[in-house]
């Protein structure tokens, strides 16, 4: 049996060459790399759209683009960043790191893994091509509320099918991760010894499997409403546009945690390393993650407080939302307690991780404010919401992803990145992101609506500050690309254990990690584990 099974691996670092290596790949590291490069590319595509948005909002009045195009930028920016940048970056990290962290030879279903990646460029070809179509790209917001979205021109079926396609990709990715973690762990690694990054990804996978098919159902109903005369979302035939919002946010709220949970996992790996202390309250971290995931299915209507829900519904969803603060608080407490009395050093990954803890908490608090029904009547659909979710997603999820790249880049490339440039990137990013988004809180509280290309003169100053921060943040990310490329090409060689305080199986293999690792399961000793 074992001789048969080895027929693909004649020598240790045998790897296919040329285009075949990438198009036909069944290697978790290559596929992870593809995911990460794709995510970075999409980060700049979506970022370019954000620059257009901020340029238009630099001053009151219409300057550069017409409102329809502006709205399509807002819509596609969101879809690209969520489905093209943050989710693929997370899956890319999962691909690269989970097999290394649990001592598996590869992902459980390698061919399906390849398919989940290659769907992404094709799905985005469908989505991005709509910008050039008659009637322009989808401009009704990424939430695709009917009846507005049904007025989309030729872009409409492309939007729907792109969502279906991305859903297929994510579900396959999630199934793969679950099978890998539950079936491929090296003997001796129990579930409660897995690194928290692995735990958060398992739980994220459950969220993906439970929520994305619901989105597929919702957009299918949009499609039939537009082309086949059904009336799911049309009161004239007994349906209700609000029904779409319910179904959409039943997907949409877990989706928020799909973006955030892997970030929690990353930070839970980085903070102990640079604090030179094991993670505080490992078990409570696992249970908190699971609680957040479960609760995320019972809070969806807090996105629709102003739509006219029965008062009992508003109260239920408000209290359920408040409840999420409890496990999230546990997490933040544990991160801080991990740092407490630790021998901390502040390399770039640690800086990003600490910034994550602080800035994500700000986003969490503004989320609590939004979750309180009576005050949400004032904040709903204002720039306060925009500020809130950008704190959670940009200074939250994206910062954690940046931290992860810096943390594991030596493992991927075999070289240390330029620490000085990394720190410059961190400080510029952090300052720019706060200049960009902090004023938006004030704009929102003062009543500036989102998704409108023009605004009242009273909002001019803060918008200009915000735009300057936006341009600065955008430019700074070019530095990030430079640092990554420079590191890939060479530099100081990294040891197998790139960070002296690091623990976990991924640091027991050489840097760069060879093409095949753990072909036979490693013998696990307690001190090798991240959470022994």
């Amino acid at each position: 049996m074992s001789t048969l099974a080895q027929d693909t691996h004649h020598d240790h670092d045998h790897k296919p060459t040329g285009l075949k290596r990438w198009f036909f790949s069944t290697n978790h590291k290559d596929i992870g790399t593809l995911y990460l490069i794709f995510a970075l590319t999409m980060f700049f595509v979506g970022g370019g759209m954000a620059m257009i948005i901020r340029a238009e909002l630099f001053q009151p009045g219409l300057q550069f683009v017409d409102p329809q195009f502006y709205n399509s930028m807002v819509t596609i920016h969101a879809l690209v960043m969520i489905f093209g940048a943050v989710m693929p970056a997370g899956v890319g990290l999962a691909n690269w790191m989970i097999p290394l962290m649990i001592g598996a030879p590869d992902m459980a279903l390698p061919r399906m893994n390849n398919m989940s990646f290659w769907i992404l460029p094709f799905a985005f070809a469908l989505l991005l091509s709509t910008i050039f179509m008659q009637g322009g790209g989808p401009a009704g917001g990424w939430t695709m509320y009917p009846p507005l979205v049904l007025q989309t021109g030729e872009a409409f079926p492309f939007l729907i099918f792109a969502i279906h396609f991305l859903g297929i990709s994510s579900i396959m990715g999630a199934i793969n991760i679950i099978a890998t973690v539950f079936n491929m762990r090296a003997p001796g690694m129990s579930l409660m010894q897995m690194p928290l990054f692995v735990w958060t990804w398992v739980i994220t996978s459950f969220l993906l499997i439970a929520s994305l098919p619901v989105l597929a159902g919702a957009v299918t109903m949009l499609l039939t409403d537009k082309y086949f005369g059904t009336s799911f979302f049309n009161a004239a035939g007994g349906g209700d546009p609000v029904l779409f919002q319910h179904i959409f946010w039943f997907f949409g709220h877990p989706e928020v945690y799909i973006l955030a949970l892997p970030a929690f996992g990353i930070v839970s790996s980085i903070i102990p390393t640079f604090s030179r202390k094991p993670l505080f309250g490992y078990a409570s971290m696992v249970y908190a993650t699971a609680s957040i995931a479960i609760l995320s299915f019972f809070v969806w209507a807090h996105h629709m407080f102003t739509v006219g829900l029965p008062i009992k519904g508003e109260l239920f969803f408000m209290y359920a939302t408040m409840l999420i603060a409890v496990p999230t608080g546990v997490k933040v407490f544990n991160w801080v307690a991990t740092m407490w009395k630790g021998a901390m050093t502040f390399e770039t990954p640690m800086l990003f991780a600490i910034a994550f803890v602080i800035l994500f908490t700000i986003g969490g608090f503004s989320g609590l404010m939004l979750g309180i029904t009576p005050v949400d009547f004032q904040y709903h659909d204002t720039y306060f919401v925009v500020a809130h979710f950008h704190y959670v997603l940009l200074t939250g999820a994206v910062f954690a992803l940046m931290a992860a790249v810096y943390y594991w880049l030596p493992k991927w490339t075999g070289y240390m990145y330029d620490e000085r440039l990394g720190k410059i990137h961190f400080w510029l990013s952090t300052i720019a992101a706060n200049v960009l988004f902090f004023p938006q809180h004030f704009l929102g509280l003062a009543g500036m609506p989102r998704r409108i290309p023009d605004y009242n003169i009273q909002f001019a100053d803060f918008n200009m500050i915000s735009s300057i921060g936006g341009f600065a943040y955008g430019l700074t990310q070019l530095l990030f690309v430079y640092i990554v490329i420079k590191c890939a090409l060479g530099g100081k060689k990294s040891k197998a254990k790139s960070w002296e305080g690091a623990r976990g199986l991924e640091w027991t293999v050489p840097s760069p990690a060879p093409f095949h690792t753990f072909e036979t399961p490693p013998k696990i000793r307690k001190e090798m584990l991240e959470n022994g």
Binding site: M1, L4, A5, Q6, T8, H9, K20, F23, F24, S25, T26, N27, A104, D106, P110, R111, M112, N114, M115, W118, I119, F122, A123, A125, L126, F156, P157, F158, F161, F165, I171, I175, N176, A179, N183, M184, P187, I209, A210, S211, P213, V214, G217, T220, M221, T224, Y227, G229, T230, N234, A235, A236, G237, G238, G239, V242, L243, H246, F250, E519
Partner: protein
């Protein structure tokens, strides 16, 4: 959990990228077709042909590897988890449509007839004050935009018969499994053939029912929320039955070639799980769409 055997990691394969291209072509064709580009139809069919080719080729490779004994027990477990969670995702897909049905019956129709909010319901008062709640809702709030129908399919006619058929097919597929566990290939093939046959008869009745509803009852997709939920739920279910019957037929073909043994028959079990899932969804349909 993990065994000491080496896990089979396949060499590079062309099928994933072909699968992606196939689905992309299908979606592209569909989207162009929806935009009234008649050549979209041709792209769509090319895409579907590619999908069929991909499934054939991909599974051919997998079956070859399976017969060559490359799959350890651990690989088998991965496949099982894959299929299991795929079915869970399908359950959630149907949940969206059942949710729409529940919402329409419990909320949107009563609200449109003026219930809720202390009897002050703007849509009812100002738009359609004459509208009254009913299920099946065959008087539309705005009759000019949706067609009203003369009747619906009663539960205890063809649907009840269909329930019997599908439940029996669940029994026959289990009998086939028992036969397989007794290594009785002939019985296995017989019961599988019976299952496929029951599935096809079910689909035949379903088509008959659709034709009857369209022609005699004037019930179409345009029949308001009842028509919408009825056709989308039964339609997606019917599509799943078709796929399940096709998969069963392939399993029957493979059984005839003697691919399965008492120990090693994951493909059979996966399809059987799928068939049971389709069965359970039908019970939900029978109760909530046809009956109550």
């Amino acid at each position: 959990m993990a065994s000491q055997e080496v896990y089979y990691v396949p060499d590079g394969s062309k099928w994933p990228i072909i699968a992606t291209l196939a689905i992309f072509t299908t979606f592209l064709g569909g989207a162009v077709w929806f935009n009234d580009g008649s050549f979209g139809k041709h792209i769509l069919f090319v895409g579907l042909a590619l999908v069929a080719y991909m499934f054939y080729g991909w599974f051919k490779d997998v079956i070859k590897e399976s017969l060559a004994g490359k799959y350890s027990k651990q690989v088998d477990v991965s496949f099982r988890m894959g299929m299991g969670w795929f079915i869970v995702s399908e359950v959630m897909f149907f949940a969206a449509f059942f949710g729409a049905l529940y919402y329409a019956r419990e909320f949107s129709i009563p609200w449109l007839s003026g219930e809720g909010n202390g009897g002050h319901n703007g849509t009812h008062e100002f738009l359609w004050p004459a509208f009254q709640a009913a299920w099946p809702m065959n008087v539309m709030p705005d009759p000019s935009r949706y067609t009203e129908y003369t009747g619906v399919i009663p539960a205890f006619g063809v649907p009840a018969l269909n329930t019997t058929l599908l439940l029996s097919s669940g029994v026959t597929v289990t009998l086939a499994h028992w036969a397989l566990q007794k290594n009785n290939n002939k019985q296995l093939c017989t019961w599988l053939a019976a299952t496929v046959l029951l599935g096809i008869v079910f689909l035949g009745f379903q088509i008959y029912e659709y034709v009857h509803a369209h022609q005699a009852l004037d019930l179409t997709l345009k029949g308001g929320i009842y028509g919408s939920t009825f056709y989308l739920l039964t339609g997606f279910h019917g599509f799943h039955v078709s796929m399940g019957a096709l998969m069963l037929a392939i399993i029957l073909y493979r059984s005839l070639k003697g691919h399965f043994s008492k120990k090693d028959h994951f493909a059979f079990e996966a399809v059987a799980w799928y068939w049971h899932f389709v069965d359970v969804v039908w019970l939900g349909l029978f109760i909530f769409v046809y009956w109550i």
